[in-house]
């Protein structure tokens, strides 16, 4: 299937970042059209489009907007989640670096639909270069009357600010993000109340991902049905799949929702380095349970991956070949979650630490017979016992490897060395 470039056509084009180029190529026509429509009709088109929340949760975007009360005594806010930090994920960086005006246009469309006059983009602190490019685009938009007191000449004001994070994965969790935007440490909030009712500064708040908003221009210009028809059932349109790991051509590929992983890895990614055999795939960032090579034909959308006990999540796809040690992969995952647990809930704070210490011990050849059982028990205890989804995500990722590659863990425990490495050395 050919790559369908709805939002990625300008990736890599140095000329495309500026406002002039953007406007010369139909830019802001979607916002102009939306602002000629009844706001409720805009939301309706987005609902029809089956656009899902592309940060990872996959919640229907139109539905999310509809939860925000029409009449609010407090000002309503839009916060854009650009805290892209799920290991294996780098798609939003491409939008921010190559097509920032498309994001700004989506922000205007969403703000018009929901009646929002102040929006914040929360960008992870490590994204220094994307921040500079984004801020320059916002400055251009203000100077051209696209943002500010009269958006595109309409009697509608919208101020847009960029808020830089400071290095914390948890701030990608939507309520951790709100806390961070309010100048606090990113400890997630209990829900309910949901941010749509009590969000930023205790006011009704929409939180949308960069990629989600970047699809709005096309949805408004071409219609919700057009977008829905491109994807798979209940998963509208295309998605930016960020492919990495042991593949020949890692990168961001825009493909229709429901494209099989095999096509991404072998056609677009060029297959595995050295044409080695595929062994495992993480299909949606580090939190997504690992799949084995025989699951490579599963269509990549939210529902099909959920059916096999994994998730599409942030669409960061990590491909691993036969030479990859899964204990080592688990060790990297465990190190990450132990480092990034915010420490608020005991099961997550303690559980992520335990898992990291046990896996470190196994990897160092000091495993004990009960380790596999204990790891599974910790993972189970970490599920559904904390305020936010970090703990659930971590435990899902642990369980994925524990269930699918128990033999490798047991081999490490028993023989104090790595069977994968032995097999590799025997081959060369």
């Amino acid at each position: 299937m050919p790559i369908l470039k709805l939002i990625s056509e300008d990736f890599g084009n140095e000329n495309a970042r500026g406002l002039k180029w953007y406007r010369d190529h139909g830019g802001y026509e979607g916002a102009i059209k939306a602002m000629g429509m009844d706001p409720a009709k805009v939301t309706e088109e987005v609902t029809i489009s089956n656009l899902r929340g592309l940060g990872g949760a996959g919640f229907p975007a139109g539905k999310k907007w509809s939860f925000v009360p029409k009449d609010s005594k407090l000002p309503k806010y839009l916060t854009v989640n650009a805290d892209e930090a799920e290991p294996g994920t780098f798609k939003d960086r491409y939008i921010l670096e190559w097509d920032p005006h498309r994001l700004i246009e989506g922000i205007i469309i969403c703000s018009w639909a929901v009646g929002i006059h102040t929006a914040y983009i929360y960008i992870r602190g490590e994204y220094v270069r994307p921040y500079g490019i984004l801020q320059a685009a916002i400055d251009e938009a203000y100077a051209a009357g696209i943002l500010g007191d009269r958006v595109l000449g309409n009697d509608f004001s919208l101020n847009l600010y960029v808020h830089r994070g400071a290095g914390a994965y948890i701030c990608g969790e939507e309520t951790g993000l709100l806390q961070s935007l309010e100048g606090k440490k990113g400890w997630p909030r209990l829900k309910p109340p949901f941010p749509a009712l009590v969000g930023l500064f205790n006011a009704p708040t929409v939180i949308n991902n960069v990629e989600t908003l970047s699809h709005l221009r096309n949805i408004i210009l071409k219609g919700g049905k057009w977008f829905a028809d491109i994807g798979s059932e209940r998963n509208g349109g295309t998605r930016l799949f960020a492919l990495s790991g042991r593949v020949k051509r890692p990168g961001v590929y825009e493909l229709p929702m429901g494209t099989p992983m095999r096509e991404l890895i072998y056609e677009h990614g060029g297959g595995m380095i050295g044409d080695r055999a595929l062994k495992a795939i993480i299909p949606g960032g580090a939190s997504a349970p690992v799949l084995t090579a025989d699951e490579v034909d599963i269509p990549m959308d939210f529902d099909n991956l959920a059916k096999v006990g994994s998730m599409l999540g942030s669409a960061g796809i990590i491909a691993m070949d036969e030479d990859v040690c899964m204990v080592k992969t688990l060790h990297r995952i465990a190190d990450f979650f132990a480092h990034e647990s915010c420490g608020q809930c005991t099961p997550c704070r303690e559980g992520t630490g335990w898992v990291y210490r046990v896996v470190s011990r196994i990897l160092a050849g000091k495993g004990s017979a009960d380790d596999l059982k204990n790891l599974m028990s910790i993972a189970n205890f970490m599920t559904g016992t904390s305020i936010c989804a970090l703990s659930d995500g971590a435990s899902m990722a642990y369980r994925g490897i524990l269930k699918k590659f128990p033999n490798e863990i047991e081999y490490h425990v028993k023989n104090k060395q790595c069977d994968v490495e032995e097999a590799r050395l025997a081959r060369v």
Partner: protein, 162 residues
Amino acid sequence: MSSAEFEYTAENLGRFQDILKRYPQKRAALLPALHLAQEQHGYISPAVESYVGRLLEVPEVDVHEVVTFYTLYFQKPMGRHHIRVCMSISCTLCGCEAIRDHLGKRLGVASGGVTDDGKFSWEAIPDCLGACELAPMLQLDGEFYGNLTAEKVDQLLSQVES
């Protein structure tokens, strides 16, 4: 001003006033105010915490809590150039351990340390920098450098101005 004290330069005070206008609550400006202070001072000392807290009417202890929660705020002087080596899954699959070891040997300090001449500081980090297509990769003074080899790391270090 003694070394134990801190205040924004006149220019940065102006930038701080602009930052304040973005938010309906003063405290919301805490992260950008700390970024600005670190840009000027190199790290967040207790004096910086105290100063920023006074400006924003946030208790010093709350400022400290925020500074210690996030990884990008330094609490001690670092090198003039700071390097982060990504040790996440994709980078590990592509050999970041060798890059980390080479860099450590080349700079002669362990992760988290500063070279004797104060030129470099570096750290190997377990969180993903969001550039897995460049694996193995590192961040030097904000910029991403990828597809690294030991030779590329050497080249990069020698290109950096003191």
